[in-house]
Symmetry: C2
Subunit: 235 residues, 2 copies
DNA sequence: CCCACCCAAATTGCATACAACATTGCTCAT
DNA sequence: ATGAGCAATGTTGTATGCAATTTGGGTGGG
């Protein structure tokens, strides 16, 4: 007999990782915010051991900077790093569109349509949801290739792009992209490989050119984490 | 005043990571070999905590498979994963050649020439050194782009390619590639972007098509690790 | 003879304790 | 007043101990 739900999902360390990741992507923990192990552990109801493991994972993903003996902090990528990041995205997401062009199942097309609809719905509402959905479109596309490595890389790059935009982007930069997502989907369904790739490149370029001015943020870590703790079944 | 050598290099956890990674890439620890935390800790002279951290890093790199409650093992990628991996390599290493074409400094050209010379020198000698050098050529090229993310991705893919070749490649498959490396360098120096990219693609394709038959390996973990412990200043 | 069950050994999951290091603020001499 | 040195504090680095889970083997019933 098979156990139905063993323990939440796959270990509490993973849960901590997801909670922190979401907190960063939602900009509840902005770039540069320090991440002391015991404060996080307290806020999430776990020990430093698990926090540490999560931080290692996050640093491996480039979302967290891990300075020896000096603690962890949300990464603060430079503008130059952002440039490199996006040129890498170009190469990878072009591969995504080339792979997917004309090969989307109807189920996948449906899912993408629904996702875009959700993006539109979120445009006037919660801005953090809007940002997250915009990124998830790219992640979703990448995962549909069936190439797990490619999907993981794109996911990492999209995540880090959020940091770049948080640092250097204008407040509502991600909203206008929804129509471009729709166009890309159209080209993919039509099987027009070249057009899909070009639209994707153009789309990414238009994101990069929106990067100009910085902001600043601060927050108490325990407060910012409390809601994420609940959503991962921690605390 | 600058501290000359703080502590070996950058923390013992990193040392464990490097030791295990090299052991895997040298095929001292072949695909599928189990990696119990305390055996490794004993072999390397550190506690399970550090081993655990290293294993998390390695699993994040795709070199180690981490099954919950069931321990870690050197990854055993499927042939299909290998295919995905190489198509991702195509996209990324094409970007490398495009970025580098006509932009190599003379110092970099020298370094690459020396590396190729080392590859040739190792052809008749140690086969594990030969394999490692062949991979490091690609990593070195990627690092010269100055794009840290790109370099890290290529490094990961090259590492995992070693696993693929260990599982499905013929024994001496990597030796014949040295001349191709030389040709690629020539095209890069000449600034012929298209030719460089084509040579790289062709080179990678010729590697993939050498993948056919499997082997099997076994070893006591502690013995296999002892030499790597010394080289990292552990034990 | 085979299968289900259960117990023992080994291994991972996680927390906690202690040691090492970095940082901050204070003291004291100049 | 000012800067060097030092003590106090907070944080990270690492080891170890205990609980929880898996695994393999043995035992008894069918």
């Amino acid at each position: 007999m098979r156990r139905l739900e063993k323990k939440g999902n796959g270990g509490r360390a993973q849960a901590v990782h997801r909670a922190l990741k979401r907190a960063i992507l939602d900009q509840a923990l902005g770039p540069g915010v320090k991440l002391p192990e015991d404060s996080i552990g307290e806020g999430l109801g776990v020990s430093r051991t698990l926090v540490r493991e999560a931080l290692v994972r996050l640093s491996e993903e480039g979302l967290v900077e891990l300075r020896p003996n000096r603690g962890a902090a949300v990464a603060t990528p430079s503008l130059e790093e952002g440039q490199d990041l996006f040129s890498t995205r170009f190469a990878l997401e072009r591969l995504v569109t080339e792979t997917l062009s004309g090969r989307l199942t109807t189920a996948q097309q449906m899912q993408l349509k629904e996702h875009i609809a959700a993006e539109e719905a979120a445009r006037s509402g919660d801005s953090s949801a809007s940002i997250r959905l915009a990124g998830e479109f790219h992640t979703l596309l990448a995962s549909m290739t069936g190439n797990a490595t490619l999907a993981r890389f794109v996911n990492e790059l999209v995540s880090r792009s959020s940091l770049i935009l948080a640092l250097y982007g204008r407040p509502h930069s991600s909203e206008c992209a929804v129509s471009e997502h729709h166009e890309i989907l159209g080209a993919l369904v039509a099987g027009d490989q070249k057009r899909a790739a070009n639209l994707m490149i153009h789309h990414l370029e238009s994101i990069t050119t929106r990067a100009v001015l910085p902001r600043d943020r601060h927050a108490d870590i325990r407060d910012a984490l409390s809601s994420y703790a609940a959503s991962e079944g921690l605390g």
